[in-house]
Subunit: 172 residues, 2 copies
């Protein structure tokens, strides 16, 4: 079954009397020019390519920090994936120069990997904190942040950070 089939959204929101969309937003309904549109999709496809890599590297960094080592069993458990899959992906991470390890041994990050992990971690944290500052429930915020983090631009991140700061200050 496809997700939307049990996602009772339409009835709840269509033709809502609360639609106060200002006119300046109505233009959202027009199609952008083809080439710009294509670039939008390209950006998403592009993000997808690095998503998984970032997730791995981020997780490895977390494991190294919190448990002292990053074993593929743990990664498999945390990612909810088989160890074989982890092994294959790690091979790819190595070939990209993000991870290093000797066969059958625990994993480490290269400098490049650490840079990526740090960036990823920050982005993740900013998005998560932003969602919580907005008032999203912790559990939901974590799930949304995991999915959203790879698609949030630098510009938006900065705005989120500013918002969180102001909001955090307000109820502190």
């Amino acid at each position: 079954m496809l997700p939307y089939e049990h996602f009772g959204y339409i009835g709840a929101m269509t033709d809502s009397p609360n639609d106060v969309t200002p006119d300046r937003l109505r233009k959202a309904d027009a199609l952008p020019p083809s080439d710009q549109h294509a670039q939008q999709y390209a950006a998403v496809r592009n993000a997808h390519e690095t998503e998984l890599l970032e997730d791995y590297v981020e997780l490895i960094a977390d494991l190294l920090e919190h448990q002292g080592e990053a074993r593929s069993t743990d990664i498999a458990a945390r990612m909810g994936v088989s160890q074989a899959t982890v092994s294959k992906t790690v091979t790819r991470l190595k070939s990209l120069g993000l991870v290093s390890s000797k066969p059958y041994r625990s994993l480490f990050l290269t400098e490049k990997g650490e840079a990526m992990a740090a960036m990823s971690h920050q982005r993740h944290a900013i998005v998560l904190q932003f969602l919580r500052a907005l008032g999203v429930n912790d559990r939901t915020a974590r799930i949304d942040a995991e999915g959203m983090e790879h698609h949030v631009s630098q510009e938006t991140l900065e705005i989120m950070q500013r918002y969180t700061r102001e909001q955090g200050g307000r109820d502190a």
Copy 2:
């Protein structure tokens, strides 16, 4: 080259003196229990499965509305992808009962497809308007919305909608 390599983010944000994260957020640093963590990733993988399908139906609906017909050339151009790819994906959409068409003819949405498109379109609009209400530049907002929309939960969507409403009212 990987995207993060030209994304000068770390220097700008690490150890910022503006880190006023309240203590209640510090726990974000701890790893969640393995099984919960796994569910987060599973949710993301799940979203990925329907993402492309949603993008297609949404685009087809837009084309039907704005140009009267949805031809695969246009889809290919707007998605920035070859026609062969569109053809293959459309075959999949048909087998899922989302799209209908006779060979070599223009595409239509089934009821199921329309339902999905409507939901997708609303979600997209909410996220896009939210980002703009936050103060994100239009162009950036479009790109971010395209990527984020599939990862935003019902709960967060409602909060975004509320925020947009309040914010929209404020400067109207």
